[in-house]
């Protein structure tokens, strides 16, 4: 597999959200606006790249049986770093993402990539894989966030597109998250079949 396809698979062919259905909790939980989705996606990308990097470096030193706990420690460390950094420099985003920042630890996507890719591949490939998967995840969250924000409150990244009174409130609320994602996946399935 060349580097480009290794990078780009995360966006479409093996997109975490639309195809693999990994990391669904933050996908649904923090996408009531495009900016929150993007923030969450980038935070996850950082954790994914760093943990892939470290796992690729230390994989040979780790006895097989304690592999998973070791990976979890590595991931949790980077999650806490992200948590503290965001609290210090982007407090508003930190407040709106709330509980979902520490929960990046249990995002199946992160552990999944560490276990399925980084523990078997070289350093460079692992970093590119993490970057591709992470940005693909961020893209999916931003798309879902944009759709919900636009339909629900008539805005896009906080800019008013049409008056809020005409928005369909339900899309900002919990049920809208499920329904919007359902139709997005159906749409992508359809596109894929034709491609």
């Amino acid at each position: 597999m060349n580097q480009w396809s290794n990078f780009s698979k995360g966006f479409f062919k093996e997109n975490a959200v639309f195809t693999l259905l990994l990391g669904m909790c933050p996908t649904l939980g923090v996408t009531s606006s495009a900016i929150d989705g993007l923030g969450m996606g980038l935070a996850t990308t950082f954790v994914l790249v760093m943990s892939n990097l470290v796992v690729a470096v230390i994989k040979d030193f780790i006895p097989d049986k304690v592999r998973i706990p070791s990976f979890i420690v590595v991931i949790a460390t980077f999650v806490t770093i992200v948590e503290m950094t965001m609290q210090a420099y982007v407090p508003a985003l930190f407040d709106s993402l709330g509980l979902f920042i520490p929960l990046i630890v249990v995002n199946c996507l992160v552990l999944g990539r560490a276990e399925a890719f980084a523990s078997k591949n070289k350093l460079g490939a692992s970093v590119i894989d993490g970057l591709g998967m992470g940005l693909g995840f961020a893209m999916a969250l931003t798309i879902l966030g944009s759709v919900r924000e636009l339909l629900g409150s008539g805005k896009l990244f906080g800019t008013i597109i049409y008056p809020e009174n005409y928005g369909m409130l339900v899309f900002v609320l919990a049920p809208g998250a499920f329904i919007a994602l359902g139709y997005l996946i159906a749409f992508i399935n359809q596109v894929k079949k034709e491609a």
Binding site: C25, P69, T80, E83, L103, G176, F178, G182, F187
Partner: protein, 190 residues
């Protein structure tokens, strides 16, 4: 009265799956059959209550006195991961039938964000130990209620004629959305 409020709020109003978005992976993953849904609920209830008790004491006895609150995420997830393994080993020895029923679900639980989520929420809400246990148990019931209801609907869905593109996950998500809409009717009762 306090406890009643916690229970009703956790099961209906702020349902952990349908309004807090925690534990979505198992909610979508093991909801194809009612029987597996019940098994998963059992395993989650078991681990969630124990994990909440353990992390509660960890927070109060270790993290807070030593001023290392920033190690919360890392220590909680480690405790939960080892706890799941421990429960698995003990169940295998002590109660083989129970292990038979719950065993396959246990490894999946480490990455169930509902467990870690509830453990952290308990600390954030400043509950005492009894409230924490009640809260954890109620959340597990809420999880079970959503999961089993959803599984029931999905069993019926298999028999339906669904447009091609909507088959599988998309229709399941839309159904979950409608379920969440129904649960919104409970809002404001506490």
């Amino acid at each position: 009265m306090e406890y009643v409020l916690i229970v009703i709020s956790a099961i209906f109003v702020n349902n952990i799956v349908l309004s807090q978005f925690l534990g979505i992976c198992p909610f979508l993953g093991v909801s194809k059959k009612i029987s597996t849904g019940i098994g998963m609920t059992g395993a989650v209830t078991f681990v969630m209550v124990i994990a909440t008790i353990v992390t509660f004491f960890l927070q109060k006895a270790v993290l807070e006195p030593f001023g290392v609150g920033y190690l919360q995420t890392i220590s909680f997830i480690l405790v939960i991961a080892s706890l799941v393994q421990l429960v698995e080993i003990i169940l295998k020895k002590v109660s083989p039938p129970l292990y038979q029923a719950l065993g396959v679900f246990l490894p999946l639980i480490t990455t169930n964000c509902a467990i870690l989520g509830v453990a952290i929420m308990t600390i954030q809400k400043d509950f005492n130990i009894v409230e924490s246990v009640v809260f954890a148990a109620a959340n597990a019931i809420g999880f079970g209620l959503a999961l089993i209801t959803f599984a029931g609907i999905r069993e019926q869905l298999d028999l339906m004629d669904i447009p091609k593109g909507m088959k599988g996950t998309p229709i399941a998500l839309v159904v979950a959305g409608l379920l969440a809409l129904a649960f919104m009717g409970f809002a404001g009762i506490v």
